[in-house]
């Protein structure tokens, strides 16, 4: 029950989409069993409706697939939903990449059906000149012999105009065949380079091959232009059921008139034109943003290979927990890297904390003279481009009465911004705020990562002590990777001091992993019948645990946990 409660909207979206696909498939399937297609079906066998139904679903999904990757559009939608109460719809927008993937899987499935069905179709067209089916052989030969001939008043059904040819050769002579092969190949290459390993480790391959989508859409649009699959247009004069067995007398006085055929209207472009236009605008916005001037106002070096960039840009407005994409043209003009904003909306600059973990971040640190210690003048800084900010789940923090924030390792960055923002808000309007209590859990593998966010938490410690608001925020730090001998001694020595020996904070550090079951039980006990927002940023395994916990401990009428996750 609780599981349904939490995931219901997500399943609804998926189910609506699945049902849409199935219904459209079935409807199209039966549309191709009508009398117009009697001769076509006779020639092609059962594969034609399969090919057409999967083509229809391909159109539908190719329309949808571009929408989830329009991050500026989604951000705008998210912003306009902010005022109304559909929290659950907004939560769905955070899963945009997941939906993009689901749609891609669906495209692959329908591509397979479409490809398989058309292999049958082309082979059957070739075979129509010499059918294995003895009873129909004469009829099929007669139908195949119909060519476009205005003087005799005939139109063709079989696009292959001579017997005993090769299916591969015939297929590759047509626009549909070539475009189909090309876009299937493009799709496969896009899929193979979008697997987890390639996407995470060799981003350039993923980026380049994914831009083959341009070829994909061009191919998709032109694929149907030739109108090779044909339907009969004169069923009224030439009833296939009545005339089927008298094919030798077609077109002669006393016999049935010749059947007339016409190609199907190409309609892929109608489906994808809209999303393509939207996506084009999206790219224009990104391009325009990349040309805006960004000033690096300060560079701060933090311990454990983290540095902070404080940036300024005209007209930049942000919310708590949002992220931006950074690009440095002098390093790479392709790569946009996402970073969480760590400044509060109330600050007059915006900042990102960057850990020097990869090649790009390392190069950026060098370009910003982080190691030189002193801040060089803004003019010497490399040109940076910023896209964003983009909204994520954490904008919803003020919708719940109680918030549980969980950060894993470097995933603490969005919470730096959020905690600062909450702090500002809390000071301004204590009474108005729905949010009454915040729990903050930080699970961290080693002590190195503590250091740079310490300042912030120390500030909290002080300010809360001054204003007597210790009740508002509880934070817990968990050190998961144990301790060495020196640390152990240190910890024992300083056991009875007020501050923690590792972090220097008033809250003592915990060792080992948090006991989530216990934590969630306690929260349920302390806050009966309230909506609790759980916000997480960090590694996937912990995310799954928390998601399960939220579902497990939610009860109808009692405390409800709403799970939200930051996307990377």
């Amino acid at each position: 029950m609780a599981r349904i409660l939490n995931d219901l909207p997500r399943w609804l979206v998926i189910i609506v989409w699945l049902i849409g696909n199935i219904v459209y498939f079935v409807v199209t399937y039966f549309n191709f069993l009508t009398r117009d297609y009697d001769y076509t079906n006779l020639m092609l066998g059962p594969a034609l409706p399969w090919a057409r139904a999967s083509a229809a679903c391909l159109n539908l999904n190719c329309m949808l697939i571009l929408l989830p990757v329009c991050r500026n559009l989604l951000s705008a939608i998210r912003g306009s939903f902010q005022r109304c109460c559909i929290r659950n719809i907004r939560r769905q927008l955070d899963k945009h990449i997941t939906f993009h993937r689901y749609i891609a899987y669906m495209i692959c499935v329908h591509t397979a059906i479409h490809l398989g069905a058309h292999i049958f179709n082309v082979e059957r067209y070739v075979e129509a000149y010499n059918s294995r089916d003895e009873a129909r052989r004469d009829l099929l030969v007669r139908l195949s012999s119909l060519r476009d001939n205005p003087t005799a008043g005939t139109t063709y059904l079989n696009f292959i105009d001579s017997p005993n040819t090769d299916a591969v050769k015939e297929a590759l002579k047509t626009l549909s065949g070539v475009s189909g092969v090309v876009i299937t190949l493009v799709l496969i290459v896009m899929v193979s380079s979008a697997t987890e390993l390639i996407r995470r480790s060799y981003f350039e391959i993923f980026w380049f091959t994914h831009h083959l989508f341009i070829i994909f859409f061009i191919g998709l649009i032109v694929h149907g232009f030739q109108g090779i699959v044909r339907r009969q247009t004169n069923v009224a004069e030439h009833d296939p059921v009545a005339c089927m067995n008298s094919s030798s007398t077609w077109g002669t006085p006393g016999g049935c008139p010749n059947p007339q055929f016409a190609g199907l209207e190409p309609n892929a472009w109608k489906w994808v034109a809209g999303p393509l236009a939207i996506y084009f605008i999206e790219r224009l916005v990104r391009f325009w943003r990349s040309k805006q001037v960004v000033v690096v106002s300060k560079v701060v070096q933090h311990p454990s290979k983290v540095f902070e960039l404080q940036l300024k840009k005209k007209g930049f407005k942000m919310g708590p927990g949002q992220y931006i994409f950074l690009q440095c043209p002098s390093l790479s003009s392709l790569e946009w890297h996402p970073f969480t904003l760590t400044s509060a909306p109330e600050d007059d600059f915006f900042s990102v904390h960057i850990r020097r973990a990869g090649d790009w971040t390392e190069a950026l640190a060098k370009a910003c003279y982080v190691d030189d210690g002193e801040f060089q003048s803004s003019r010497k800084m490399p040109r940076l481009s910023v896209d964003g900010p983009f909204g994520t789940a954490t904008e919803d923090i003020f919708w719940y009465e109680v918030d549980v924030f969980v950060a894993g390792g470097i995933g603490v960055t969005p919470f730096a911004s959020i905690l600062r923002h909450i702090w500002h808000k809390h000071k301004e309007a204590k009474a108005d705020m729905k949010l009454r209590k915040v729990y903050f859990y930080w699970v961290c593998p080693d002590t190195n990562s503590f250091e740079w966010i310490n300042d912030l938490l120390k500030n909290f410690d002080q300010q809360m002590a001054e204003e007597g608001l210790g009740e508002f925020l509880n934070y817990y730090i968990y050190l998961t990777r144990g301790w060495d001998k020196n640390q152990a001694q240190n910890i024992i020595l300083h056991e009875h001091e007020d501050v923690d020996p590792v972090t220097g904070l008033a809250q003592k550090t915990h060792y080992g992993r948090p006991n989530w079951d216990k934590i969630f039980q306690d929260i349920t006990k302390n806050h009966p019948s309230t909506s609790v927002g759980v916000f997480f940023c960090g590694p996937g395994v912990l995310s799954m645990t928390l998601h399960k916990m939220c579902n497990k401990h939610s009860t109808v009428g009692g405390t409800k946990f709403f799970y939200n996750k930051e996307n990377f």
Binding site: E123, V191, E204, I205, W483, Y511, R513
Partner: protein, 171 residues
């Protein structure tokens, strides 16, 4: 920018190619069209490519996530020796295998996929990459040293006297 290991992509492409070839092979056999025997060939090729490509090679830098149950396959490819390691060999292997697939419509897509695979392997080979097994390293004297080598979730209580004040210090 991180060094791109082309062979990793080629490997992913090969696995997908193998499934496309298998799909084409099955279609070819069930259709029973002209030269349907190539369909049988395609199924054999698909299995062969899968066996050779399923074990992911070790990455030059960073951790390698193994595929599920790839261990026996790794051992097999490792045993082939030079032919299993060298990417020029793989390039030729896929190139030769893909040629007959292009003769019938059912398997042409799979053939082209394998062709792309072989081309990526060619790039990988020219970049000097080489397949090396992952997960086959000998684990010396496992029994007594194992405990010390790995970080486990701490079983000991935290190094801190359990005073009354600290209630929620769970391990």
């Amino acid at each position: 920018m991180r060094q791109i290991e082309w062979s990793m992509w080629a490997n992913e492409q090969a696995i997908i190619s193998s499934s496309v070839v298998l799909f084409g092979g099955i279609i070819g056999i069930t259709g029973f069209f002209r030269a349907w025997e190539i369909g049988i060939y395609a199924v054999v090729v698909a299995v062969l490519v899968f066996v050779i490509e399923y074990p992911r090679g070790k990455r030059a830098k960073g951790r390698t996530t193994e595929r599920k149950f790839q261990h026996p396959f790794t051992r097999f490819v490792n045993r082939i020796g030079f032919l299993g390691r060298n990417y020029f060999v793989r390039f030729l292997f896929h190139l030769i295998l893909c040629a007959p697939l292009c003769f019938i419509l059912a398997t042409i897509m799979g053939g082209l996929c394998l062709f792309v695979t072989s081309m990526i392997y060619l790039v990988a080979a020219f970049k000097g990459e080489q397949w090396s097994p992952v997960g086959l390293e000998e684990k010396p004297v496992e029994d007594n040293k194992k405990e010390l080598k790995s970080f486990r979730q701490p079983k000991k209580p935290p190094p801190r006297a359990p005073p009354q004040g600290i209630e929620d210090n769970h391990i």
